[in-house]
């Protein structure tokens, strides 16, 4: 079950429009656009405040699934979920399950947590969220499976529109995620599934926490 845990050497994707943190004014404008689309938007002062905000949004004892996310790992949210003892950390529960005998249980547990906590790969100026996934298993809970969704998003992920979001995913996120996947799992990643959330019909179900820092891919 053990996977490679040594640091991964990521490709140099250089300094580009996809790696530069947006201005606070642009982040504030995107937050307003997200709110218009039914997505609760919170702008944190920094990653420490974002971490505290996630903590304040999660209910004690809840079943929480943390997506594999460089952003969550970097700011300590993964550690809070897996190690604080405040929540039912579903990723720990899943990790020790019998892959041969408990596949169905794993699938159903991961599909409908109380909270899923993750990130996004791009956010457009008019308030759409874009999330790519090789397997797609992260996307179902975000769309409807989880009761609540919390996304922590670095300030470099804002793009002008959907086409630019696709470019960011293909040209910037994919090479980094592919290197991480090959290192961690020994398999390539892929832009196989892309979720675009334009509007949420249950206002507030999804919370997006912006951090004016370069976080994650």
């Amino acid at each position: 079950m053990a996977e490679q845990t040594t640091p991964v050497a990521l490709p140099d994707v250089g300094d580009s429009e996809f790696s530069r943190v947006a201005s606070r004014e642009r982040i504030a404008a995107v937050a307003t656009a997200l709110e218009r689309n039914g997505i609760r938007a919170i702008v944190a002062a920094d990653s420490a405040e974002a971490r505290d905000t996630v903590h304040s949004l999660l209910a004690d004892g809840a079943a929480v699934y943390n997506n594999t996310s460089r952003t969550l790992e970097t700011i300590g949210v993964s550690e809070d979920i897996e190690r604080s003892g405040r929540y039912q950390a579903l990723r720990l529960r899943l990790y020790q399950m019998d892959r041969e005998m408990q596949r169905d249980e794993m699938r159903t547990i991961a599909a409908s947590p109380d909270y899923v906590v993750g990130s996004a790969h791009a956010v457009t100026d008019d308030g759409s969220l874009m999330i790519a996934s090789a397997s797609g298993s992260q996307l179902g809970p975000i769309v409807s499976g989880a009761a609540h969704v919390i996304l922590v998003i670095g300030g470099q992920k804002i793009v002008a529109d959907i086409p630019m979001g696709f470019r960011r995913i293909r040209e910037y996120c994919f090479p980094l995620e592919d290197a991480r996947a090959r290192h961690a799992y020994g398999v390539p990643s892929g832009v196989n599934n892309v979720l675009i959330i334009n509007r949420v019909l249950a206002p507030g179900r999804i919370a997006a926490i912006f951090v004016p820092e370069r976080l994650g891919f």
């Binding site: 053990a2 845990t5 529960r93 899943l94 399950m97 408990q102 249980e105 961690a184 799992y185």
Partner: protein, 419 residues
């Protein structure tokens, strides 16, 4: 690594266990962590100690980096923060054992307002917690694993307010001042108005020369859920004709090259559910041998063969990397019997009308009223599940008895108040 995000390892470091593959102490740790749903990474070093000192094995490295040499279950449980003291001075009900009967009682008791604590020495779920897939439990049409059922039950009991004290053994129970004093292996003492003993059974030992020396080194009592990965491409032998043995055969068939199920009786149907018999019949790498029992083991530090004898007198040596012994149980009553609880000739706890029936019943029951159905010979002390004389050895039956016991505890407490 599987296909999906939920197959990925957690972001944070996990418990690391380093040990010899033939170490009983290392197996006890793997079993404890697996049955408590705690992920860990196992590093097998075959006695060399790897880069460390072999005398330190088994070595446990906790997620925060602390190292425990010659680790024991109690030390690891404490290191993982699993040990917390009882929260109340007096409880309405203390339950001994967190198997199906104990957890069933905990859910019903707390949901009906009784302050309740559950004591569990190893892991929630009892024997049922180690089964791979229970397919005939009501409400789960495609089945549920014993581990998942236990995890859900613990979560449900805690949500209602039950306190579940893990990794502690019962040391003693005594009736005192109209209630009960319960002492635990960690030195703590609890007081309660009623007690429910749901301590279940432990696997009956196999009387074969040399087998005790191989415990954890290829010989295991029970279904051994922690050992599934280690059985890949190996020869597995399971002894037993009950559902636990059948469940183990199904699980290990997914990993092992071959599974041989040895049954002393002439057929499986005597104590195994038909659905399991049908399932096993459809698995190519499982062979069922009836009218057969184990008479010897061959090992070179680790098991490599078992010698089996058939009722027709023939003997045969079977290649066996792992032997799982699932041959029924003996009741866990060694601590409760000291409280004066009457048991039958095989150690199972007598309750209700069984206390007052028969020629030797005189003096067993101390009160003028009849004992309540699950009440033991000590008024206010109840028994439920597999530990009880006459119980049906099925998960749903044990849960039902746990729920029934709570109604009787209410009756006892009301009587207590009336004086």
């Amino acid at each position: 690594m599987g296909l999906f995000d939920y197959d990925a390892r957690p972001a944070t470091p996990q418990v690391q266990l380093v040990g010899d593959r033939s170490s009983a102490a290392a197996y006890a740790l793997r079993d404890f962590l697996t049955r408590n749903g705690l992920p860990y990474d196992w590093q097998e070093v075959d006695g060399t100690g790897g880069t460390g000192d072999p005398a330190d094995l088994p070595l446990c490295i906790l997620p925060d980096g602390r190292r425990i040499a010659r680790a024991t279950v109690e030390q690891v449980a404490a290191g993982l923060g699993m040990i917390s003291p009882p929260q109340l001075d007096v409880y309405d009900l203390v339950i001994v054992g967190a198997g199906p009967a104990g957890l069933g009682a905990a859910v019903y008791a707390t949901s009906e307002g009784l302050t309740t604590a559950v004591i569990e020495g190893v892991a929630p779920g009892g024997q049922a917690g180690t089964t791979s897939l229970i397919e005939n439990y009501l409400g789960f049409p495609t089945g549920i694993s014993g581990g998942e059922l236990a995890t859900r039950a613990v979560s449900q009991a805690r949500r209602f307010g039950a306190e579940i004290l893990l990794a502690r053994q019962l040391s003693a129970i005594a009736a005192e001042s109209g209630g009960f004093r319960t002492e635990l292996s960690d030195g703590s003492t609890m007081w309660s108005r009623a007690v429910l003993v749901a301590s279940g059974v432990q696997w009956r030992r196999l009387d074969v020369e040399g087998i005790d020396d191989l415990l954890g080194g290829g010989v295991y009592y029970g279904a051994g859920p922690s050992e599934a990965l280690g059985c890949r491409n190996s020869q597995v032998v399971i002894i037993g004709g009950g559902n636990s043995a059948g469940q183990a055969a199904v699980r290990f068939s997914r990993y092992a090259a071959r599974v041989t199920l040895l049954v002393r009786g002439e057929r499986l149907g005597a104590s195994m559910s038909q659905y399991l018999i049908d399932t096993i019949a459809g698995i190519e790498n499982v062979e069922v041998r009836t009218s057969t029992h184990v008479v010897g083991v061959e090992a070179d530090g680790h098991l490599h063969h078992v010698v089996v004898a058939s009722t027709d007198g023939t003997r045969e040596s079977l290649a066996a990397d792992r032997l799982f012994v699932c041959i029924g149980g003996t009741p866990r009553t060694d601590r409760t019997s000291a409280a004066g609880v009457a048991v039958d000739s095989t150690g199972y706890i007598l309750t209700g009308s069984d206390l007052t029936a028969g020629a030797d019943a005189v003096g067993r029951w101390p009160l003028s009223r009849d004992p309540l159905p699950l009440e033991t010979s000590v008024p206010g002390l109840f028994a439920a599940g597999d530990v009880r004389h006459g119980s049906i050895k099925r998960c749903a039956a044990a849960i039902g008895e746990g729920a029934m016991a709570v109604a009787l505890v209410h009756h006892h407490l009301a009587e207590d108040v009336r004086g």
